[in-house]
């Protein structure tokens, strides 16, 4: 018994000891070594005498810098602060004078000069201009035009050439800025020069072809890659690139491949563009095609790199790592591919599709530099509709524009201003005022009195402030950015318009969901007239529409600014001559910005038959200014109107439920 006990005790003891040894000894062993084990990563040492280390600069050393006089600009190098005199642009903003071209002039050059003159920057005299523009000739060497008299060693001059090879006057540039196609990175002066895209010979000077992207995501069957070829075409390849040697050339045929002739656009997800210079042309083709450009170590500056964030639309990769690049392309997440594709299209449409856009973008960049802080933000440059359509003179805050609410997580304000235009008959729209003032969303009523008759001295009492503005009896005056228009939303009305409060309320609530579009009641549609070979428009009832009449429509007040300051002068004049044209112009302008159709909301039909149509042109289904739409297309360079086949109704509109459940029940009254 005893021995059993002793045995078990001894067993217990030895077990405990063993355990203690096993557990404690490894710890002891680990605490011992002063040097780390071999093989483990060694970081930067933690110094024991860390406290003794001194700062890299002693307190007081920094401020003790000897104050130095400003250095003079070094030699022929220039930057914006040193070589451009901004004070000349104070007051009038950027005014550009373009020197007339001596000698024979090409179509493109004529186009450039015309687009500068017609832009809001155009100026007729070199004295009032703050930027003087010298068009560089793409002439063979030796035929350079002499420097103009006002040259002043190039100060406040912009030498513009759409081709990379200037005539040899380059060395005399002095303090002039250079805007040329695909400048080499080594000579380009960031923040001073402007990098232009290399345009093909036949680039349209206005309007321009739309992007080729028909859908957001790549079609499943489309090849992953197209490779720019030296002859100017594209070679598409499947997903196998093992045949492509290091320099990025795929010499041998592998898998389904085909070579396109030079003119066609690549049809692939990615477009591989090698570093060689003429491949800048391929770059624009890829953009237009919605094929994501993959630039292999380009030696040229990307166009408008000062403002365009190319990382959102293209991939600049190292040509020395072709396999890694290809692997990365293959593994690129769907989300990124989707975003890059769409951005190529947006950039093409906003800045590159015509010579005019390229020129205007160049001037806009220079204007932004002059403005300094209150200029376009990166968001405005790099998201639709683009900086050319977001005027910094209107606002610099994205939330003031109709386009950026979603991106910024904001909403347009919940009130509107009614702007009632009183034309020739001069009847005060008393009933309409009461109807509009009855809306809970109405902030104020503005009456734009454009009649020969004097306005009445007394106006009805309304719940909201009513202001009478003296109009200039011009149709374009309706869309002038009057100071009194303080709300984001405008309800544009004619004195003859007939609406109910319910209709106004519902339309406004819809507009809040679509603040960048026009929301209206009566519609027109446009069509292509095969017989006449031109565009027409009609007020006839149809299954689709592309315009809403501004005699009763909600839209953002920014479109007044855009109409007045951005629409070509010729079109504004046209509106004054043929008042019914304003509807076409306003709708085209908004469609050109949004690329989307307007929105129609329901309108009580009884009044449509009882009262004359709201169109100022009278009952004629074809408004008188037949030419209006064609002139508009000529000025825009393309047909911006987009058709829609739907109408937005209240959720329970004419549903078989008790009318008491319905919020907008008066919309359904027979």
């Amino acid at each position: 018994m005893q021995s059993w006990r002793r045995k078990s005790l001894r067993l217990a003891l030895s077990a405990s000891w063993l355990l203690v040894l096993l557990r404690v000894f490894p710890l002891l062993r680990l605490t011992v070594p002063a040097r780390p084990r071999a093989g483990a990563p060694q970081g930067w040492p933690r110094w024991l005498d860390l406290e003794l280390l001194q700062s890299f600069s002693q307190p007081g050393e920094l401020p003790e810098d000897d104050p130095q006089p400003p250095p003079a600009p070094r030699g022929d190098s220039c930057d914006w602060g040193a070589c451009f005199d901004v004070s000349k642009c104070r007051g009038g903003g950027l005014k550009v004078f373009a020197y007339p071209v001596a000698g024979p002039i090409s179509d493109t050059q004529r186009g450039i000069l015309a687009s500068i003159e017609s832009s809001r920057f155009g100026s007729v005299s070199p004295d009032e201009a703050c930027l003087l523009l010298l068009l560089s000739l793409e002439a063979p060497a030796g035929e350079c035009s002499p420097l103009p008299q006002q040259w002043n060693s190039g100060r406040n001059h912009l030498v513009l050439g759409l081709h990379p090879n200037f005539c040899p006057q380059t060395f005399q540039l002095g303090q002039a800025m250079v805007a040329k196609a695909s400048p080499t990175v080594d000579t380009f002066r960031p923040g001073f020069d402007v990098a232009l895209p290399l345009l093909p010979e036949a680039h349209p000077w206005r309007g321009g072809a739309p992007g080729q992207l028909g859908q957001h995501s790549p079609h499943p069957g489309v090849p992953l890659l197209a490779l720019a070829e030296e002859r100017g075409g594209w070679r598409t390849a499947g997903t196998e690139f093992s045949a492509c040697p290091r320099d990025g050339h795929c010499e041998q045929d592998h898998g389904p491949e085909q070579t396109h002739p030079g003119a066609t656009l690549p049809n692939a997800t990615f477009c591989l563009i090698p570093a060689r210079h003429p491949d800048a042309l391929h770059f624009l083709q890829a953009l237009q095609a919605g094929c994501i450009p993959v630039l292999l170590s380009p030696r040229w500056e990307l166009p408008f790199s000062e403002v365009i964030d190319w990382t959102k639309a293209a991939i600049v990769a190292d040509e020395r790592l072709p396999f890694q690049v290809l692997a990365a392309l293959r593994e690129m997440p769907a989300t990124r591919v989707l975003a890059l594709r769409q951005q190529t299209q947006f950039l093409w449409d906003a800045y590159f599709s015509s010579v005019e856009k390229v020129i205007h973008t160049t001037l806009e960049i220079i204007q932004d530099r002059i403005f300094g802080a209150p200029a376009h933000s990166s968001l405005l440059w790099n998201s639709p509709p683009g900086a050319l359509l977001a005027l910094p003179t209107f606002s610099t805050s994205p939330s003031d524009f109709p386009f950026y609410h979603l991106q910024r997580g904001s909403r347009p304000a919940g009130r509107f201003s009614a702007l009632i235009w009183v034309g020739a008959p001069g009847q005060p729209p008393l009933k309409l005022i009461q109807v509009v003032a009855g809306s809970q969303h109405c902030a104020q009523i503005l009456v734009l009195w454009s009649s020969e008759k004097p306005p009445p001295s007394r106006w009805p009492k309304t719940a909201v402030p009513l202001t009478v503005l003296a109009g200039q009896r011009k149709a374009s005056d309706r869309f002038f950015p009057h100071r009194a228009l303080s709300t984001d939303a405008i309800l544009s009305l004619d004195a003859q318009s007939s609406l109910t409060t319910s209709e106004v309320d519902f339309a406004f609530v819809v507009w809040q969901s679509f603040p960048e579009r026009m929301v209206g009641f009566l519609t027109w549609s446009h069509f292509w007239d095969e017989a006449r070979g031109d565009w027409g428009h009609t007020a006839e009832k149809a299954n689709e529409f592309s315009m809403v009449l501004t005699s009763a429509a909600f839209y953002h007040r920014y479109y007044h600014t855009l109409f007045t300051h951005s629409l070509p002068k010729a079109l504004r004049t046209l509106a004054d001559e043929a008042p019914s044209c304003v509807d076409v112009l306003m709708n085209s302008l908004v469609a050109a910005v949004t690329k989307l159709p307007p929105i129609k909301v329901p309108y009580g039909k009884q009044r449509l038959e009882a009262s004359p149509p709201l169109a100022p042109g009278g009952p004629d289904p074809q408004p008188p200014a037949q030419d209006c739409i064609n002139q508009m297309v000529a000025e825009f360079g393309y047909m911006p109107l987009v058709s829609s086949r739907l109408r937005l109704d209240p959720v329970l509109f004419k549903d078989p439920v008790s009318v008491l459940r319905k919020k907008y029940r008066s919309l359904e009254k027979p």
Binding site: A12, A15, S16, L19, V24, T31, Q42, G43, R46, W47, L50, L52, L53, F56, E61, D65, Q68, P70, S77, D79, G81, A82, V185, R189, G191, G214, Q215, H216, S217, G221, D309, T311, I315, D318, R320, Q345, F346, G372, A373, P374, S378, N382, S397, L406, Q407, R408, S513, N543, E544, L596, K600, R645, L646, R647, D649, P650, V651, L652, F653, K663
Partner: protein
């Protein structure tokens, strides 16, 4: 452990029967054992046990013990920096190779003390900041201790301040680094370049092809896309505690706090002060401070003493004038105070200008316009100024506040150049967290109406209701724009009917068999889907007419980034219960559409399957419910847009209760759906659903117009 404890418990019971002599012996023995065990336990559970310490592998040494290297007078010198260097010419990218994580590997040379022939040190061994910088790199994901795998090399030779080193000898020290190779892929950090009298704007130490992260580059010395412009670190960042002060108008409109200002410029500033006495404050060095007061922390205006950098928080704009050097540590202090820097330093390359959008946080004024600065600043709208104040503070927090922040931003920029396809975006670099959080980036942002010719793919999820399924197939096949029909057969116990039994339709019909009966199978991005538009339809939705479906597709084309569906639903806030409630009654508002019949872009299938936040996807599959609500949440959250309900209300056969039958269960069903909404709202961290009061009808719906001339006459029939 367990076993031994057991014995120990039993042990003491034996003791009383033993002799005292033995007893003492045993007690001592057991105490030793117990002590040992306790000690083991303590070691085991000590919170900072030695094994888990990250410092374990780090050498603990004294700086004074570092090896000394003697540089012979004639040892080779690197060439001066090559101004034409670019990444594709001077950087050896092969060293970086392909890395699936898209991260460069950085090696740090070990610390040495360099002395010349006569034993005089070449420089201070290492400064506090450079040590901090190397520690930050060493602790980061970039670090490697394997010199052969490294892509970037950081010498431990401290060149932060050119004034503390001997130029020629430092260059010689660089040249003898083991992988120097003309400086290829070597990165030097320098904050104070140049020296009297001409103050070069880049480090004067010849460095051949090495990249320079420099504070104070000018346009003449900066190699765009090769060098990195970094801030001059302000030691005050660590010394002084300065709590954040929100944006808004402040006591002074414009403040100048620098001490070493060129007399000409001080004259300009004094003139401003004289003109706008109330709103401009121009400070200078204090001349009459009592002993012991740290003069670095004080600024004076005549006899008035101000605390620095606290005084910066009293101003909206703060002038940062160049001194002899372009880069000024004051910039860091100014940003930190949320004061918008007015940078007056011609040709200065702002810190991290390659990625940071300084237009959002600063105003750059040409030196010759210093006297006009007041007018220029007055021209900036107030709202924009507040935005800039917020942005300034954010830049400081993210990229200026510590040496570590500066070091990591520098490496990130170089990393972005080498792996451009994995680079951080403009927004990631520039948007403050609050903006990042509130903003929406719609994945289908391009305004685009896809061509009608593309058509849509109908996806019917079915289990075993073959008869109903065949009716749905027959009905849907009548829709002109249908391009393919995909049946997702979700029943693993039963085979789909034989080919010959299926209805003969004019478009391809594919049957996909699933591995598990899961609701999320409906939203899987099948390869068979070739069109962008997808129509999800239940196998019992036979009441939709061909006109209604075709019209739905047309509406989707006008709103390709939204869910376009037939039955609409609403979420409501229940004030009594303080939670969300699901509503399927006839309401004037809509915030969801049921996916029992809905068009949407196929990209949302990808999002649903691979990017659904939290555990929502598994939760839906486990509960066999609410996949449609999850889809509504997902789309609304990513696009910020509302759904579009099309066509009038119809009598749907309770389309959402396919899993359960009978009216008695309706109540439980509603409760369950409400729970889904609450669960999803908590996972998304917000309520993304948007409420609207409209639905889409054909333009001429219910209009007085000949029915036969309408495009979609058969709409709304019950």
């Amino acid at each position: 452990m367990c076993a031994s404890v057991k014995y120990n418990i039993r042990g003491p019971a034996l003791i009383p029967r033993m002799k005292t002599k033995h007893r003492i012996y045993y007690i001592t023995l057991f105490s030793v054992v117990l002590l040992g065990l306790i000690a083991t336990g303590v070691f085991q559970f000590w919170p900072h046990s030695i094994e888990s310490s990250s410092d374990w592998n780090v050498e603990k040494r004294s700086v004074r013990d570092v090896p000394v290297v003697r540089l012979p007078a004639g040892s080779p010198l690197p060439e001066r920096g090559d101004l034409s260097c670019r990444m594709h010419t001077c950087f050896d990218v092969y060293r970086c190779g392909f890395n699936p994580k898209n991260k460069i590997k950085v090696y740090i040379y070990s610390l040495k003390k360099y002395v010349d022939d006569s034993g005089v040190p070449v420089s201070n061994t290492i400064s506090r900041e450079y040590n901090e910088l190397l520690t930050a790199i060493s602790d980061s994901d970039y670090y490697t201790d394997d010199i052969s795998r490294a892509c970037l090399f950081v010498p431990s030779i401290d060149v932060l301040n050119q004034n503390t080193l001997r130029i020629k000898e430092t260059a010689q020290a660089l040249a003898q680094l083991s992988r120097w190779d003309r400086g290829t892929n070597h990165l030097l950090f320098n904050m104070l370049p140049g020296g009297p009298p001409d103050y070069n704007t880049a480090l004067d130490v010849p460095r051949d092809r090495a990249l320079l992260a420099g504070g104070g580059f000018s346009t003449w010395t900066y190699r765009q896309g090769y060098d990195v412009s970094i801030p001059v670190y302000s030691p005050l960042s660590a010394e002084v505690d300065l709590p954040e002060k929100g944006p808004g108008p402040r006591r002074y409109f414009l403040l100048s706090s620098q001490m070493a200002v060129h007399p000409e410029y001080r004259e300009d500033l004094e003139a401003l002060q004289a003109k706008h006495a109330e709103s401009v404050l121009v400070l200078d060095k204090c001349t009459n401070l009592s002993e012991g007061v740290p003069w670095v922390h004080r600024r004076c205006r005549e006899h008035q003493v101000y605390e620095y950098p606290q005084v910066l928080q009293e101003a909206t704009f703060c002038v940062v004038l160049r001194g002899a050097r372009l880069g000024q540590a004051a910039l860091s202090d100014v940003l930190r105070a949320g004061c918008v820097p007015v940078i007056v330093a011609d040709s200065y390359i702002l810190p991290f200008s390659e990625v940071l959008d300084w237009k959002r946080a600063s105003v750059v004024v040409p030196e010759e316009k210093l006297s006009d600065v007041y007018g220029i600043l007055q021209g900036i709208p107030r709202r924009q100024v507040e935005e800039m104040q917020r942005q300034s503070r954010w830049f400081w927090e993210a990229y200026f506040q510590s040496i570590k922040a500066i070091a990591l931003a520098t490496l990130q920029i170089i990393n972005d150049r080498i792996y451009p396809y994995a680079a951080l975006s403009y927004e990631e670099w520039n948007d403050p967290p609050a903006v990042k959080w509130s903003s929406v980036s719609n994945p289908l942002f391009l305004p685009l109406i896809p061509p009608q010719s593309q058509g849509f793919t109908a996806i019917v999820l079915t289990y075993d209701r073959v008869e109903s399924l065949f009716r749905v197939i027959t009905e849907v096949s009548k829709v002109p724009s249908l391009s393919k029909l995909l049946v997702v057969w979700n029943n693993q116990n039963k085979n789909p009917p034989e080919d010959s039994l299926w209805p003969k339709i004019r478009v391809p019909l594919k049957v996909v068999r699933t591995a598990e009966n899961k609701l999320s199978n409906r939203f899987f991005p099948y390869d068979e889907i070739e069109t962008e538009a997808v129509l999800a339809i239940d196998d019992d939705i036979i009441m939709l007419t061909s006109d209604e479906l075709q019209f739905g597709y047309e509406v989707w084309r006008e709103f390709p980034d939204r869910l376009v569906g037939y039955p609409g639903r609403l979420h409501l806030w229940d004030h009594e219960m303080s939670k969300w409630k699901y509503e399927s009654e006839w309401t004037n508002e809509v915030s969801m559409v049921l996916t029992g019949a809905a068009f949407y872009h196929k990209y949302f299938n990808y999002l649903y399957t691979y990017k659904m936040p939290g555990d929502i996807k598994n939760w839906v599959d486990a509960h066999m419910n609410c996949e449609d609500i999850a889809m509504n949440f997902l789309v609304a959250n990513v696009t910020g847009k509302a759904v579009i309900k099309v066509t009038p209300r119809k009598k749907f056969k309770c389309p959402e209760c396919t899993a359960i039958d009978g009216l008695s269960l309706d109540q439980t069903h509603m409760v369950e759906r409400s729970e889904c909404i609450n669960k999803f709202a908590s996972v998304f961290g917000t309520m993304p659903l948007k409420v609207v009061e409209h639905r889409a009808d054909p333009v001429l719906y219910k209009d007085d117009f000949p029915e036969k001339l309408k495009s979609f006459p058969n709409i709304g029939s019950l």
